[in-house]
């Protein structure tokens, strides 16, 4: 399951397994992370089981350098995370026609344990972070009110 292969034009494609699926898509567990441009912190998360389901995802740290969170014990167990893990973190982007209008879900990032390709969408419950955080550099505000804390 742990395969990173070269696709077209130097693209990196990785198959990942979300044992519990994603909220709203609990039945979809197998995905591909397709990073078209390795220099840009943007990629596609494509469902293998349902080709209609795919998301734009971005590396939150590239847009929000202060972004931080801790992993709970159950998340670490579920993803088989021990000492010194190699993790990838992605935020699901809601693209609304231009980057100015687009938002990233910082409240529920995708965490992928690269050593075993297991992933999970975790819910942070951190009032600092919004489900719809505007990704424009100057806009520190969320676009729409986020769900109650």
């Amino acid at each position: 399951m742990n395969q990173i292969t070269e696709g077209e034009v130097g693209a990196a494609i990785q198959e990942v397994f979300f044992e519990k699926g994603l909220p709203g898509f609990l039945h979809l567990t197998r995905f591909i992370v397709d990073q078209a441009d390795p220099e840009a912190p943007l990629a596609v998360l494509q469902s293998i089981e349902d080709e209609q389901v795919w998301f734009l995802i971005g590396n939150p740290l590239a847009f929000f350098p202060d972004y931080e969170f801790e992993l709970s014990v159950d998340t670490k167990e579920e993803l088989g995370i021990g000492e010194d893990p190699y993790l990838a973190v992605w935020g699901i982007i809601t693209y609304r026609g231009s980057i100015n209008l687009s938002t990233m879900n910082l409240q529920a990032p995708l965490v992928i344990h690269m050593n075993n390709s297991k992933g999970k969408q975790i819910i942070l419950n951190d009032p600092r972070y919004s489900i719809r955080q505007s990704i424009m550099p100057d806009a520190g505000q969320e676009v729409a009110p986020h769900a109650g804390s």
Binding site: W54, E77, I131
Partner: protein, 82 residues
Amino acid sequence: MLVLSRKKGESIIIGDDIELTILSIEGEVIRVGVKAPREIAVHRKEIYEAIQENNKQAVQHSKKNELMAELLHDFRLVQNKD
């Protein structure tokens, strides 16, 4: 839906491993304690639903290559401004 009445301090057990306890009742706010196995996630409903909703809204319907190219283009424009 099963409806049970509980007073402060009383509990409900779900299955063998999940226990809800009414910790306090202050006006309209009820504090509920939840004991559950680690592998069972527990969330406030409105937060879970908001994430479900956002995931569903985020699913893309455009052609992947075109949308990705557009986003990368926007991103590089923003990068070059800095």
